[in-house]
Symmetry: none
Subunit: 124 residues, 4 copies
DNA sequence: GTGGTCTAGACCACT
DNA sequence: GTGGTCTAGACCACA
């Protein structure tokens, strides 16, 4: 899996990392139970500080995407969907919908946008 | 229009404000050409710092939702959709889709999520 | 409120801090809604690093003892008891009980131990 | 006796092991003088490192629950209660009480919690 | 060798 | 001035 960090982005590095790992899970590049690289290893690989990777892993653990096995380090373990997750997704989706409505992008086009993303990544 | 700020949220206050104004535009509570309250006024109303409101207005201007006139202050002026906006929406949508896929939320359910939002707000 | 850190303890500094703040809440020295000192302030006061205080505050937030107001910083806000908290208390209590049973400390004496703690701190 | 280790727990493996052995003694599954399994044996059985078991045994020895004989290995030998043990129990109990008070769990409920634990394990 | 903890110093976004 | 983020380097507990 290729992790690409944009050092010029205004998104925090640890969030970029978090989101790319979530994307990797969605794309089945990381599978349930797979070990993540050690914080030092990954930090070296992508040229950022150990602690920044650590923070990304912590957030992923809080959000229910990884667990930590005290023997093996971090590994993928996605929690089943909970009310709380759905609320979060709904909030973020609401922001996208609001923007679309303002710009005169139709509901039909939003559906197509989703389908396009699924198609691009060979999902479903 | 009621603006509700959650001071305990992780989201920056100026972004909450920005998003609620965009939502207001989408819901047709703010119409093209309507003046926004003055920075000072709005800051007092919702109990936040003047600079924070200022920042929200700046971002809205940059994102093409309002324009600023020396005499009238800020007023709603939504740019027509541009390639750049679509790219942004796609990115944010991609993050939502990735999360959904991880949690085993289906494409069909995402479509329903959008429809639900339209319905809740009586859109379209 | 006096916070006392034992630098020779094998308990992590941020946990000592966390526990003392919880104790302070229990003893009504910190009241619902009270602001905690800024991380820098408290760090200076007790002679530890800012980041260590920050970690203590983060854990307190996760555990539902404080919230962060983006304007005022951290303040006391205790979540109502949840199944999850009770489970945790039960686990820790189980460990104490097991130890007591091994040492031939009776159930009656455990009850008295609790009552003694309440009394010492003028609780109830 | 069944030892169950949670590899995803925040608690160190050697402490989980220690606590489960203490629980075993309390439940009279391990009796005074009984030999504990060899370090190697137990490590294999529960799938952890030999050094981790060793550490657990060391701590149990320090805390006065087992003694070690060159020939027989570790065996149960519980010290009679000392001032030092009581102080430790009091400290840990104080932390539980503090949490309970914060969460509005009453003294009566704490007593019931203890009684429930005794009952669940058929103690006394 | 691994993550956890702690320190230190710095910059920036936000209020 | 505040917390948030990032970097850097160090030590230790753990496995």
């Amino acid at each position: 899996m290729f992790i690409e960090i944009d050092f010029n982005s205004d998104e925090a590095l640890y969030l970029q990392l978090r989101n790319q790992i979530i994307l990797g899970i969605a794309l089945d590049e990381y599978h349930e139970g797979d070990a993540l690289p050690s914080v030092r290893q990954l930090a070296d690989d992508i040229g950022i500080n150990m602690h920044t990777v650590n923070k990304a892993y912590s957030v992923l653990r809080q959000d229910g995407y990884v667990k930590v096995d005290r023997r093996r380090g971090a590994f993928i373990a996605v929690d089943s969907v909970k009310e709380e997750h759905l609320r979060g997704m709904r909030e973020r989706m609401k922001a996208v919908v609001a923007e679309a409505v303002c710009r005169n992008v139709s509901k039909r086009e939003l559906h197509a946008l989703i389908d396009g993303i699924y198609e691009e990544y060979g999902l479903e």
